[in-house]
């Protein structure tokens, strides 16, 4: 059995316009993942095809791409069940560096803006800052995020206002630090997020939840931040 793929190609050094290229590879094993097919093309058919991948098991978040119109990770998407020819495009609304590789500079810059690290002002305890199992459980549904960008690049609000709207991935991480029992900067974090564009551009259409390969729910996290802001005011 063969797998048919149409893959977005663009090399800004040579191409004036992007185009779709057709490839066919063999279904080499049962349960074959999309990344296996891409590797097969890269290693055996066409070495110029460019994409990011590293761990190959849905942990590093490198191979986020648009698969038949839906964002996902190639390494954990089974080829079986995908309508053929499989249409592969780079993540939407990001600048293409080459083929399926996009420029994530702005995305990670927004991540940096929320200060995604533990901020504590009380004196450092002799050992570590402890957390009860219940407090740790609060982070479930947020810590699993691998920042692959599948959710953020599926969000129309980020497409239109991505220069200011933080996007679902970054807001999920913002909520992760707001929920962390060891973090002492919740006030400053909320101050930084209380903004019609940074936070309130989310209109809860839930594309983010649909796209998330780790089955997380950024919309829920965003609503939690909104509720925290409301509770602080009222």
């Amino acid at each position: 059995m063969t797998i048919q793929l149409n893959i977005y190609r663009f090399n800004p050094e040579n191409d004036s316009k992007p185009y779709m290229q057709h490839y066919e590879v063999a279904m080499s094993k049962k349960g074959m993942k999309l990344l296996d097919a891409l590797n097969d093309i890269k290693w055996n058919l066409d070495g110029t095809l460019t994409f990011r991948r590293s761990c190959g098991e849905g942990v590093c978040g490198s191979d986020g791409m648009n698969i038949n119109g839906v964002n996902g990770l190639a390494c954990i998407t089974p080829v079986e069940g995908l309508k053929q020819p499989i249409q592969l495009r780079p993540l939407p609304s990001m600048n293409v560096i080459r083929d399926l590789v996009v420029d994530t500079t702005h995305f990670f810059d927004q991540y940096r803006q929320i200060k995604p690290w533990l901020q504590a002002y009380t004196p450092t305890p002799e050992h570590e800052r402890l957390q009860s199992p219940e407090e740790r459980a609060e982070l479930d549904g947020a810590y699993e995020c691998i920042m692959c960008g599948c959710c953020t690049t599926s969000c129309p609000s980020w497409w239109w206002n991505g220069d200011r709207f933080m996007g679902p991935a970054v807001l999920l991480q913002a909520d992760r630090w707001l929920k962390d029992s060891r973090d002492e900067a919740a006030g400053e974090r909320l101050d930084q997020l209380e903004d019609a564009f940074k936070l309130y551009r989310c209109h809860q259409i839930m594309n983010c939840m649909e796209a998330c390969p780790k089955e997380l729910n950024p919309t829920k996290a965003i609503n939690h931040i909104k509720r925290m802001l409301l509770n602080r005011q009222s």
Partner: protein, 120 residues
Amino acid sequence: MVKYTKDLGSAHSGLSDWYLQRVSAVILALLLPWVFVLLWTVALDSLSQQALFALLDSLAVRIAHTLLILALTIHAYIGLKVMIEDYVHRGIRVLLMGMVMVGMGLFAIWWLSLIWAWGG
């Protein structure tokens, strides 16, 4: 080299819009159906026009009517504002939002004057 987007900080806005949008939605959900119920009963001749006018004249209905118009105006203004913020480019965004605000304000004032000047 790492590029850094200039972060202008937070405008501390958005929460009140978000909150008012929800409060006004609840008021609209409670009061707006009554407008259609009243119009329908008049259309079916279950209620005469004179009786409708008398009803609108009572203090309780005037207060509810006022609340309805305020909620309607606020809800429509915030809804339009959100759409403008979503889709309109920054150059004309503020101008357009100001025009919508003035328009909705005039509409509310005109309608409220009708409610409170009625019959007197």
